[in-house]
Amino acid sequence: MSHHTIDLTNVLYTYPDGTTALRNLSLHIGHGEAIAIVGSNGSGKTTLLSHLNGVLFPTAGEVNIGGYPVVKETLPHIRRTVGMVFQNPDDQLFMPTVYDDVAFGPLNLGYPPLEVEKRVTSALKTVGAYALKDRPPYRLSGGQKRAVAIATVLAMDPAILVMDEPTAALDPLARRQLITLLHTFSHTKIIATHDLDMVLDLCKRTIVLHNGTILADGPTLEIFRDRCILEQAGLEQPFSMQSCPICSKI
């Protein structure tokens, strides 16, 4: 099946203040792939993600999701296909209770109440947050907020999951739980992150961004072994690949 592919062709994006964030970027992502997008701050990761569901439109070039170009007319379809988990869960959880928040998407998609309830329950159970359903978002911990933010997206049953820094500001246990959870998803996953150890765990393919262009694109292990590329992109080898500081063994 090829209906959940992502294609970017010569995408150029310039912010209104004149900063060019993406320069002639082209890439193809196939169905069911797990992709990491890494790069230093300001390399264009978030801008790239914003193009995948029409939060931003390219200044030049074309974005194609599952054969549909991302333009105003196709947005409802695109946003149903691509679920976006924002960097800051506080931006994503805007309804008064967790339940209402998770139900927001399915209700907007026009599902009948029973179906909405089924989806909300199943999404919250998947992320292990069903017990929190009546809580207001401000009463959740960082890890719980993240889990609920993912549930809000899962409830819409997207084919492609896009996540911006999912492990940022999580404690080690919450981070591990999130990685385990993401492992269980069979969606096409695109994760922008600085957490290269998580990338090793989750993504077979890595795209390195630098100054709005693709510096490298290939199997994760291969890229992470190439210190030259990592250094150029302002990155460091993941801890699990660095030698032990005490015995110097890998």
């Binding site: 506080d90 805007f94 309804m95 401000y138």
Partner: protein, 270 residues
Amino acid sequence: MIKLESTWLDLRNIDDLATQKTFIHSLNSCTKLITTLVFVVLVTSFSKYEVTSVLPLLFYPVTLMALGNLPYKPIVKRLILIAPFIVFIGLFNPVFDQTPIAKLGPFLITGGWLSFLSITIKLLLTVTSALILVATTGMNSICTALSQIGVPKPIVIQILFMYRYLHVLLEEFLKTNQAYTLRSFKANGIHYKAWGSLLGQLLLRTMDRAHRIYQAMLCRGFDGKVPLRSAASWTKKDHLYLLFCLSFFLLCRFINIPQTLGTLLTGGFQ
């Protein structure tokens, strides 16, 4: 600043009281909203020198607090917090309004003092009833009720979002203030020259956040409508409560109960 934060937490605590299960809590949120609105309008409709006939209305908040198992402390605390505003509103009445109304022994009671007392009682009643409404219903249900009685949805959504993000905004302000305090050694409080840039920063960040929230909403199919849960249906209990409260309010409004009782007791009808 810690005080500001704790004040805000108090409001959250009052909201938390709404999760209790008492007779008052079990009433439909619309019923409680309508009674409170009618109460507020009636209290403010009394003439400015009216003191005695407003007093029986004190039964309403007191009874509700007892039936709703509400602790007195947080409510009184919030009343003390707004007390300065009440005093300021009526402060100049005794000075400007010197109309003599009554003589109590050697003391002359002027219209200014009466209207000051009247304003104080009215504000205490209205604020307490609003606090009780929050403490027995909760902000979310109040908003649902507001939309059900016909308040335009955009306004309801504004209230809901404001309530949701007030906390986030306050946190941001506290952090900015802390960063400022840690790097300003002489000044006590924020220097007037810094207010501009601090508030400007806060405004810009708020606008950025609003933009991100809007994007997040768009990503989940937002098309101008925010789905709100509908409130539970009306029961016999609600009808009875509404009928009882409204007739009590109207009785208090049109009959000066203390005066009538006084006349009765002193044999005025004979």
